[in-house]
């Protein structure tokens, strides 16, 4: 197990390096002039040169990347926003909890919905329940989160006044200038974002779980268990669910990691000051340090969640760690 763990950690570090190299190359080398972006398009040549020097852009590319990595790993710094000179670390540190509250709240909802529905649907294929479920899946996958969000906030926020139209309140009170805060207001403002975020994933997971359960139910070991006289309940829980839900854990880890990089559509529609909203604005303003920072953060999240999933998987399934 120790070997397996060490192997996985080294693999994660390697992935991190590759991802940061690609990110750096994409955003800082091709095809923009970062110094120009940082200095503004009307900067004097002298000011432009000083910015170039400050950003190490007057040095070879591998030296630039070295400085980038050094700042990131040793100083934990992702630089400063071109737009308003704010530290990217503090921006990400402030926005990540908002995205996390959307993603984890949404994940609880989508799993709570998709696991039972997926199983029921698989147990009664082509039944009315199954067809209704598949209709939900189709709508959930087809409808764009922006449309869902706008419709929900129009109906429940604007017309019925049940929820806020948009906005975010901090979970922990005490932020200067906050207009609303505390767990109650936080949850109240997150209802529609959670539902919006949940719909797409719930649909995908229902389909995934249904397919896995149906596939597992036709496995030889399930037939053997039945032949040995095991009850339907025992077969389902011991043999079918245990195996069919394993891939869900893998996908969940990746989805959570990826979504933590910014649930762009949901955050934008509901004005949640999370990473997705931040990166969209940064893209519009060509704010490279922010874009790079969020991509690096997102990459780290995916790597860490994958690592957790791999290790968990290794514990659950000995074949994985032996391979």
């Amino acid at each position: 197990m120790t070997h397996f763990l060490i192997r996985r950690i080294f693999w994660a570090i390697f992935l991190f390096l590759v991802a940061t190299i690609i990110t750096y190359l994409i955003f800082w080398v091709i095809p923009t002039n970062p110094a120009q972006l940082a200095a503004g398009h009307a900067a004097s040549p002298e000011f432009l040169a000083s910015i170039k020097h400050r950003l190490h852009l007057d040095k070879p590319i591998y030296i630039q990347y070295f400085y980038f990595l050094q700042n990131l790993v040793i100083h934990g710094s992702l630089g400063r926003s071109f737009l308003n000179q704010q530290s990217v670390d503090s921006i990400i540190g402030k926005d990540a909890p908002v995205t996390a509250s959307l993603v984890f709240g949404g994940a609880v909802l989508w799993l709570s919905l998709s696991v039972p529905i997926g199983i029921i649907s698989a147990l009664r294929p082509r039944s009315v329940t199954d067809r209704l479920t598949m209709t939900f899946v189709l709508i959930g996958i087809s409808a764009h989160p922006v449309w869902i969000g706008l419709i929900l906030s129009f109906v429940f926020g604007y017309k019925l006044h049940i929820t806020p139209i948009a906005g975010y309140c901090n979970f922990i009170p005490g932020t200067a200038g906050a207009q609303c805060e505390g767990p109650v207001q936080w949850a109240y403002h997150m209802i529609l974002p959670w539902i919006t975020f949940m719909i797409l994933f719930a649909a995908l997971y229902v389909r995934l779980i249904r397919a896995n359960v149906i596939e597992t139910m036709s496995e030889d070991y399930v037939r053997t268990a039945r032949a040995k006289g095991a009850s339907q309940r025992r077969v389902m829980i011991h043999h079918v669910l245990r195996n069919s839900l394993l891939p869900v854990v893998t996908i969940l880890g990746m989805d959570l990691g990826l979504a933590l990089g910014g649930a762009i559509f949901t955050e934008t529609v509901f004005n949640l000051p999370g990473l997705g909203n931040q990166v969209i604005r940064a893209y519009g303003a060509n704010d490279l340090p922010i874009i790079t920072g969020v991509v690096v953060f997102s990459t780290c999240c995916v790597i860490v969640f994958n690592l957790i999933v791999d290790v968990t998987y290794g514990f659950l399934d000995p074949r994985i760690r032996m391979s």
């Binding site: 002039n33 009307a42 926005d95 709570s112 926020g157 604007y158 139209i165 200038g177 949850a187 060509n286």
Partner: protein, 554 residues
């Protein structure tokens, strides 16, 4: 197995209870919110959205965008400023932090301001001439990276400012502050100097406010409000300055700006009263229906002109647009109404001149086709040069609005007989392409200018003085450089009063009639939906916003 069951059950219960709990608090919170609105009706909190954007900077010596300045005007105390009045009256400068307009020496080079006594910053400390000296220093300090150097070249105007700007001196020798007297010595007479002092860079600044290129987020200010808190990307809160005793209005107790709101959601919030106004304006596609519902400037739908002008830029320094006949032909060929229609109802007023209403010297005239493209006239003016003209590189950014604008212009040009090559360019490289003197670009629809200060110099000289063209990073893309016109601009800049206005009115017309360096097409309007409770609307064409301190939510 039991553990699995329990986990599933737990998750089901947790998910359901999370939703139910959130729904349950919704009713209570909803009533709280409604009660909050009732309290706000007494005039408490003015809630302002900024759809899809936030203030770039709130540091008065770095901020440059119009919304930044509109907010800073609410907290600031400039030497001179614009009164909280609608229409033309609101465009006339008056002494704000100074007791009167400055006295000017006979040679026109020394300006003496007397600072209004008894003024205090929001932390209770007194405002003296040193506060304005500090404003100049922070604006010109190399440690600040303020846009002032590039945009108005103040470092060349004040004695000793250049040395300070380049880090060779620790103070600006041409500025002295003694008690309530501020003296500024200029390198040469400059009739625009007082107008320039209306910019937010020259607001009273606490003498110990540090130099920082990152800008400060909160700071003591001397205007009717101060920035109580600022969380970039999330909120900016202004509160009344308890020490402000001047005549400027300070109606709401508190002004809260919420940035980066989705435009559609922002519209719903303003309609429902959850917000009072979106600074960026309503979604353009909603203007027509809002006008139908509320009328224009009758109740909740407001439309007002800005001091901003949009234009299509031609590169005058290389073929084919080094030929004035072809520039004129393009001015006849462009379908101005189509350009305005692209921006939705009430987007603005068609124009074919550089100066905008409200700027001294503005006199409406009509040289080219305002009602639509005049293809026949364009062909006649361009003559055979059109057919022999090289292909036009039409450069535009890849944004949807920019692409749409470009497509219409390119169609207009082809109708006349020009050969056009569409060159979509990412915004990341666009300014490098069009900002280089030896660029290959011929034309772009990404042109526009808003007044930094209400003086014709800021339009005519700033945009068309070709002697300022540099190798790279040029902020203006016509590359128009005419020795005779440069002389005329210099002469006009030395005038004052009505002589100045008349001279610039003549230059404005001559520029388009004789040289046609660009294709002006729109004086931009701002349009806003307001909440039902919002009152005392006083719109400023200069800021393109209402005066926030004057708005009332009672």
């Amino acid at each position: 197995m039991r553990r699995k069951q329990l986990i599933s059950l737990f998750m089901l219960v947790l998910g359901a209870s999370l939703l139910v709990a959130a729904m349950a608090v919704a009713a209570a919170s909803g009533s709280t919110a409604r009660a909050g609105h009732a309290a706000a009706a007494k005039g408490g909190t003015l809630k302002l959205n900024e759809s899809n954007e936030d203030f770039d900077y709130v540091d008065p010596q770095i901020a440059y965008r119009t919304d930044d300045w509109a907010m800073l005007n609410t907290v600031g105390m400039p030497l001179v400023g614009f009164p909280e009045k609608s229409g033309t009256a609101g465009t006339q400068l008056y002494p704000v932090g100074a007791t009167a307009f400055p006295t000017v020496s006979k040679d026109g080079k020394t300006y003496t301001f007397h600072i209004r006594p008894g003024m205090k910053f929001s932390d209770g400390s007194p405002v003296t001439a040193a506060a304005y000296q500090r404003a100049f220093e922070r604006t010109l300090s190399p440690k600040m990276g303020s846009p002032v150097g590039v945009n108005i070249g103040l470092q060349d105007e004040i004695v000793g400012a250049d040395a300070f700007f380049n880090g060779k001196a620790s103070t600006i020798s041409g500025i002295s502050a003694k008690g309530n007297t501020l003296t500024v010595k200029l390198t040469k007479a400059n009739a625009t100097f007082v107008s320039q002092m209306g910019m937010q860079w020259f607001t009273a600044t606490k003498p110990n406010l540090p130099y920082t290129s990152q800008g400060v987020q909160t700071f003591p200010s001397a205007g009717p409000y101060y920035i109580a808190s600022r969380d970039p990307g999330r909120s900016t809160v202004l509160k009344r300055n308890p020490y402000y005793k001047g005549p400027r209005p300070a109606n709401p107790d508190e002004i809260v700006f919420t940035p980066n709101v989705d435009p559609d959601q922002s519209l719903l919030q303003v309609k429902s009263g959850a917000s009072d106004l979106d600074l960026v304006g309503n979604v353009p596609t909603s203007s027509a229906s809002l006008a139908q519902q509320y009328g224009v400037n009758k109740s909740r739908f407001k439309v007002g002109p800005t001091a901003c002008m949009s234009y299509i830029s031609m590169n005058n320094s290389r073929p084919p647009f080094d030929n004035v006949a072809l520039r004129k032909a393009v001015n006849w060929a462009v379908d101005r109404p189509a350009q305005v229609r692209l921006l939705g109802a009430y987007a603005g007023k068609r124009t074919d001149q550089i100066l905008v209403p409200g700027v001294p010297g503005y006199k409406p005239y009509n040289v080219y086709a305002l009602k639509g493209a005049d293809v026949a006239k364009a062909k006649q003016v361009g003559g055979s040069a059109i057919a022999s003209a090289p292909e036009i590189n039409f450069v535009h950014t890849t944004s949807q609005s920019s692409t749409n604008r470009a497509q219409v212009v390119e169609y207009n040009l082809k109708q006349v007989g020009f050969k056009v090559k569409d060159v979509p360019t990412p915004a990341t490289t666009f300014y490098q392409v069009v900002g280089a003197r030896n660029t290959t670009y011929n034309m772009t629809s990404n042109g526009g200018w808003c007044a930094d200060y209400f003086d014709p110099y800021d339009f005519i000289n700033v945009l068309f003085d070709g002697r300022k063209i540099q190798a790279n990073n040029n902020p203006f893309y016509s590359y128009f450089n005419n020795a005779s016109f440069n002389k005329q601009m210099d002469a006009a800049a030395q005038l004052s009063g009505s002589a100045r206005a008349n001279a610039y009115a003549k230059l404005d017309q001559e520029l388009m009639v004789k040289y046609a360096p660009v294709v002006p097409y729109l004086v931009i309007n701002d349009h806003f939906l307001t909440s039902a409770r919002l009152k005392n609307w006083i719109y400023s064409a200069y800021f393109g916003e209402p005066y926030f301190n004057a708005l009332a939510v009672g």
